[in-house]
Symmetry: C2
């Protein structure tokens, strides 16, 4: 096992545990146990806990950028791409009901901690916002594309928060259906 592989395994385990338990609640011992190394070995790969968080955020930024690039192709046209976006709520419904949205919950937690990586975590939100805005621009809504992007992002966040609180799968489906109808309506009716 090379050092690089161990580092990546640490980041992946931390990524999962930060999502499931939260950043502050996840200890070095938790991550070490998940990876199968001792706590002491940790500091050969990371100087401090903050650095693991930064690596996890970078991993999520890369993963998000890759996913958006794939939707760019798979969605075909702007409306299809927007449907890809709302589709993640259904595809990830089990995880969302158990742990909420990984983007929103990390952003909220780091905000309360006043953590220095707070703004970096928000960049994940910004990736979605910019990508969604672009799709609405292509859909013929250049003037309020950003408002529409924020609206759709907000509705997705709200669905994740309440689905987590009430553990209601039917609620997710109903809201996703409503968002799909709304997306179809954006194209047909001008601002």
């Amino acid at each position: 096992m090379t050092g690089k592989a161990t580092r990546e395994r640490i980041i992946e385990a931390a990524d999962r545990l930060f999502y499931q338990q939260g950043y502050e609640q996840t200890s070095f011992a938790d991550v070490a146990a998940a990876v199968g190394i001792t706590r002491g070995n940790f500091y050969h790969h990371f100087k401090a806990k903050d650095e693991i968080l930064d690596a996890v955020i970078q991993l999520r930024l890369d993963a998000t950028a890759g996913m958006l690039a794939r939707w760019e192709v798979a969605g075909g046209h702007p409306e299809g791409r927007l449907l890809c976006f709302v589709g993640i709520l259904v595809a990830n419904r089990a995880k969302i009901m158990a742990h909420g949205c990984p983007v929103g919950t990390l952003s909220t937690e780091l905000s309360k901690l006043e953590h220095r990586s707070r703004e970096d975590a928000n960049k994940i939100f910004l990736l979605f916002r910019t990508w969604l805005r672009r799709q609405f621009e292509l859909l013929g809504r250049p003037d309020d594309a950003d408002d529409l992007a924020m609206h759709l992002l907000a509705r997705s966040q709200g669905v994740a928060t309440l689905a987590n609180a009430f553990h209601d799968e039917g609620f997710i489906q109903k809201e996703v259906d409503a968002m799909r109808d709304w997306i179809k309506g954006v194209r047909t009716c001008l601002s």
Copy 2:
């Protein structure tokens, strides 16, 4: 200063700090310093940290029930009451941008901690849900009143999460305006 007053001051300080910093991140020392007592004196009023959380949740349940009862009168009719509900996003916009929604962020945090009081915290959500559902029923939508209540609750949560992430006051106002339009549309168009 009687014991009862000190206990109430502890609960009020904890309520504020749990909102601003999160439950897990708030230590006894933080609350004690805010109240102006020593840590040791704490255990005369509460046996454990969990008990303060329970007291804070009860305080918020009572405060929410009281607020909903006041809206029942101040709003006049169901539509006016729903407008009272979305109005809190504007009225509390500064706090929401700084710390998110007190209901949603506590619910999310306790979910990640798998805390035993998780369900009690969700009762605050349930108060809003039940109250909103009743207003939609009175508005002539008995069949989908709960769906409409969850929809409005979700949109509010999403607005709070994104307003906190992006610190965008204009976004809150735009979304609240959109929710007001949506509320007006609910009455005029049947399901």
